[in-house]
Structure formats: structure tokens, C-alpha cells
Amino acid sequence: MKKPSIFGRLLMALVFIFLYAPIAVLIVFSFNSSKSRTVWTGFTFDWYLKLFQDTTIMNSLYVTLLVSLLAAVIATVAGTIAAVGIYNMKRSHRNAVLALNNIPVINADIITGVSMSLLFISAASVLAKLSLAFSQLLGVNINLSFSLGFGTLLIAHITFNVPYVILSVLPKLRQLDNNLFEAAQDLGATWWQAFYKVIIPEIRPGIVNGLIIAFTMSIDDFVISYFTAGRVQTLSMTIYAMTKKRITPEINALSTLLFTAVLLMLIIINIRQASQEKKLRKTRIRSTGIIKYSKI
């Protein structure tokens, strides 16, 4: 209830300056007419135009969006199903599975990345050998071999996304009224109807939240992709390659665009949430009112 102290306000101001200084720099220099990152030489929109012609950036943007979207969607579906399963487990089993589930969440990214790349590479070489052996044995050309690329990247992303989806869906399942499912069946719904007509809508906030987290994690990931993507380049990897010489302001432009988009989205969501909450507060007071007057 008490207003934060001056010290508190000061701290917040400093932290936000700290958090946003580099972003401000990034945005400002996306309009810089030269490639310099530190000297302002004039205003231009050129980088925004060039951005769309740069095939490397556009390609990697495409790869990133595609892999993030696919991984997020697959992980959300898989994670939701898994969460339902986990929810119905015996406690001891559930704890074991949750511990397993937590490994990629807690483990260092680099270890996740390195270990998965070891798996993919071993699998690739084993499969290559196998197909060679089979081909010789059967006299037909069988090719099971694969190389690191979009497929492995996708698998990796799914793998580190699923746990987050589960962590966000599971609490919603726990909050669920145990009887909802039975209520639906009682009203004539089959098992499956009850699931998608009642359970899914009920845990939807958790699912959506999981989807968003998964998508964010994927978009933001660099380390794991770096070890598992092979030749394919995500945006992070392209940027990483660029940091090795010099970042072109096109990337700044791209980030500025993304940042603005997310900012707008958040503002819209926020306004909507705020108004919803206001409504909710009203109805809460309202329902106590009902109890108060119900006797009359």
C-alpha cells in the first residue's frame, strides 16, 4: 500500500536505463547513414530497404521463424498430451518424469547442444554404416544416412521446448476441477468429446502460455542451434557469424522492426488484460453483493 521510496524509484530508473541503453543504441544506429556503430553520420532508411534484399538475413529469418513455429506448435501439442499423462501418473512416477523433464530446463545450454550434436553425429555415422552394409548385403541401394540440418535443428528445438510447455500446462491441469471431465461425460459426451470440448478450453491459457514460451525460447536460442543445425543457419547463427567481423546495420533494422512489433503486441495485450481485469474486479464485487442481498 505504501508508495515505493525514492530509493526504490531511483533503483528502478537506473535498472531500466541499464536494460535499455544498448537497445537504444541499436535502434538509433539502424538509422545511421554509415556503417559505423559509434559515430552518427546522418539519417537514412537505407538499411531497412537493404534488409529485404539481403538473402542471407532473409533466409535465416525464414529458417528461424519456420523452426520456431514448427517446434513451438509440435512441442505444444506433444507437451499438452504429455502433461495430461503426467498429471494422471502416480506421484512417485510423476516426480521421476518431472525430474527428467527438468533436465533441459536446468542444464547448461552448451551441454544440451553439445550432447545432442554428439547423438546426431553418432546416429548419422551408424546409419551411414548400416546403409552401406545393407546395400552390400541386399544388393539394393539403401540410403538411411542424414546430416545435421533442419531436421536435427527441429528435433533439438522440440526437445528443449516440450519441458516448458509441460511446466506451463501442468499447473492448469492441477487447478482444473476434477469433476469437469465427468460432468461432460455425464451430459453425454464421449471421452474424446469431453477432452476437446472441456479440458482443452479449460487449460487453454496454459497451452497458449506454453506456446509463447516455446516460441520465444526457440527464437532466442543460439547455443543449441549452433551445435545442432549443421549448415542451416538461424538468425542467431547469422548474427553470430556477423559478430565475427562486423554487424551490418541491416540487422539493427531487423531488430528494430521485431522490437517494435513485440512492443505493439504487448501493449495491445496489456490494454486488453487491464480492461478485462477491471471487468473482473467489478464482477467480484458484484458477486459478493449477490450473496449479501440474496435473502431479500
Binding site: 526504490g8 533503483l11 535498472v15 531500466f16 541499464f18 536494460l19 541503453a21 544498448p22 543504441v25 541499436l26 559509434t38 498430451i81 504429455a82 502433461a83 495430461v84 499423462g85 503426467i86 494422471n88 501418473m89 502416480k90 512416477h93 518424469v97 527428467l100 523433464n101 533441459p104 530446463v105 536446468i106 547448461a108 545450454d109 552448451i110 551441454i111 544440451t112 553439445v114 550432447s115 554428439l118 547423438l119 528435433i155 526437445t159 516440450v162 516448458y164 511446466l167 471421452w191 520465444t216 532466442d220 543460439f222 547455443v223 551445435f227 542467431s236 548474427i239 553470430y240 559478430t243 554487424i247 539493427n252 531488430s255 522490437f259 504487448l266 496489456n270 488484460q273 487491464a274 481485469e277
Partner: protein
């Protein structure tokens, strides 16, 4: 009633194949040599990387402490704001995460470089001239980039939200009636903080520490970009063995293994320390 738990089985299998098996492979690589035989060779030289281990742990420790020192008061102050403000501030803390962290870190280079924005600003304000005149020195810039300080700064910058969010979400959930109960029993505001708010926020603190320390100790980007590559960290060392200039995945696996063990020990000790049975993983 029905065996609905089977819905989790594909997940368990998937996690076993893509999480557990890879970790087993790491262990396997760590104990074999390039020629294939079992060996402890990879661990024998570990002593020579002592300095990297020490540096990584130390810098990650520093970054974690600083994050905690900034993040805790910040979370606390945030939790005192009105609900609308809280939402906005939390959004503002998460928003930077939507800009690629490589870019954000790279932007720090522009700020910290010898010819970067800070030094330029100081020069144009005539600060250096002033100092040079007074102390009769001849400095034209303050060296900030490519120092360990810069690396710690990069870590703090990148991982601060991971400290703030869990602590904040634990603090806001503390039942205000507990605070009133403590006041009722004679506790002044300092005591309330010391005896109620802080102990109750410990799970958040622990999960914040984990979420900062683990990525900090294993990063290889921040040190590359802001550290100039002169003092590498564990992450660089591992990366170097797999995709870098000193190819040796067996050694890399051994280092990974040891890092994993160190992280596990740290977390274990910390959880003991905080009696944190209910370790919260908060997103």
C-alpha cells in the same frame, strides 16, 4: 481410473532418446580417446584448465551476486507498486529478451569500446582533458571493453531478468496477512522483512540464482564479444573442442562432464543451505 498416464509415455521415450542418451554419450566420450579405447587421459590434463574453471566460476559467481544485489531490491520495490504499474514494469523487464541477445551484447561493444559511446561522451565533455591537466597524465580513453569487468557486465545485463522474475513472482504471492500477522506480533518493518519476507522469498532467490549462475558459468558468447578472447571461459573451452580451433570432442566432453558436476554440486549445496525442498522453477 483409465490408464491415462500412457499419454506421457511418448514424451518419456523422447526425453530418454534426446536428453538422456546424449548425456550418456558425453560421459562415453569423456572416457574414451580418439582412437576408441577407454582412457582417463582426458581428465589427466584437467589441472591445466584450472585457471579457466576458476575464472568461469568466479565471474559467474560475481555476476550472480550482482544480479541478486540488484534484482532482489528491484523485485521488492516492484512488488510494492500498484498492480497496473507492476504489469508494465514486468513487461519492460521482459521486453529486451525479444531482441537477440547477441545483438544486445554486441551493442554493449559500441558503448564500451575505447572509441565507443562512453569514451566519446567523456572526451567531448572534456573530462579527459580535465583529468590530464590535473594529474598530468595522458589518457584518451578509459579501457572498458575486453576486460573481465565487461564480461561480468554482459552477464549481469543478459541474465538480470532471470533473477528478477522468479524473486518478484514469489514476493508478490506472499500473503499480506502474514505481514500483518507479524506486525501484530510486534515486528517492525525491518523485522518483518528479515523474518517473514526474506525467508519466504528464498525459493525465488534460489531459482533466480540457478537461472543466472548456470548460463553465466557456461556462456561462450559474452566472453568472446566483450572479453576479447584473451581470457576464455568454460563455454569457450568446450566450444573450442567441438567446433573451434582445437578439435578434441573427447576432451570437450570431459570438461563438459566436470562442469555439469560442479553445477550440480553448487545447486545441491545451495538447496541444502536454503532448505529449499520446494525448489521453484518459474517462468
Amino acid at each position: 481410473m483409465r490408464r491415462r498416464y500412457i499419454a506421457a509415455i511418448p514424451h518419456v521415450v523422447w526425453m530418454a532418446v534426446f536428453v538422456v542418451v546424449p548425456l550418456i554419450l558425453v560421459v562415453f566420450y569423456a572416457f574414451t580417446s580418439a582412437t576408441g579405447g577407454l582412457t582417463l587421459e582426458n581428465f589427466r590434463n584437467m589441472g591445466s584448465y584450472m585457471s579457466v574453471f576458476a575464472r568461469s566460476l568466479w565471474l559467474a559467481f560475481l555476476a550472480t551476486i550482482i544480479c541478486l544485489l540488484i534484482g532482489y531490491p528491484l523485485s521488492y520495490v516492484l512488488s510494492k507498486e500498484g498492480p497496473g504499474m507492476q504489469r508494465i514494469f514486468i513487461m519492460l523487464i521482459m521486453l529486451p529478451m525479444w531482441i537477440n541477445f547477441l545483438l544486445r551484447t554486441y551493442a554493449w561493444m559500441s558503448i564500451l569500446e575505447n572509441t565507443g559511446l562512453i569514451n566519446r561522451l567523456l572526451t567531448s565533455l572534456g573530462i579527459f582533458d580535465l583529468i590530464n591537466r590535473i594529474f598530468n597524465t595522458n589518457i584518451t580513453y578509459i579501457p572498458m571493453i575486453n576486460t573481465q569487468g565487461a564480461v561480468v557486465l554482459g552477464m549481469v545485463y543478459n541474465y538480470l531478468p532471470f533473477m528478477v522474475l522468479p524473486i518478484y513472482s514469489v514476493i508478490v504471492k506472499i500473503d499480506s496477512s502474514l505481514i500483518e500477522a507479524a506486525q501484530d506480533l510486534g515486528a517492525g518493518s525491518m523485522t518483518v522483512f528479515k523474518r517473514i519476507i526474506f525467508p519466504l522469498s528464498l525459493p525465488g532467490v534460489l531459482s533466480g540464482i540457478t537461472m543466472v549462475f548456470v548460463p553465466a558459468v557456461s556462456t561462450f558468447i559474452i566472453s568472446k564479444l566483450l572479453g576479447g578472447g584473451t581470457s576464455i571461459l568454460l563455454g569457450d573451452l568446450i566450444e573450442m573442442q567441438f567446433l573451434g580451433n582445437a578439435y578434441n570432442p573427447h576432451l570437450g566432453s570431459a570438461i563438459s562432464l566436470i562442469m555439469m558436476i560442479i553445477i550440480m554440486i553448487c545447486m545441491f549445496v545451495m538447496n541444502r543451505f536454503g532448505e529449499g525442498e520446494e525448489q521453484a522453477v518459474i517462468m
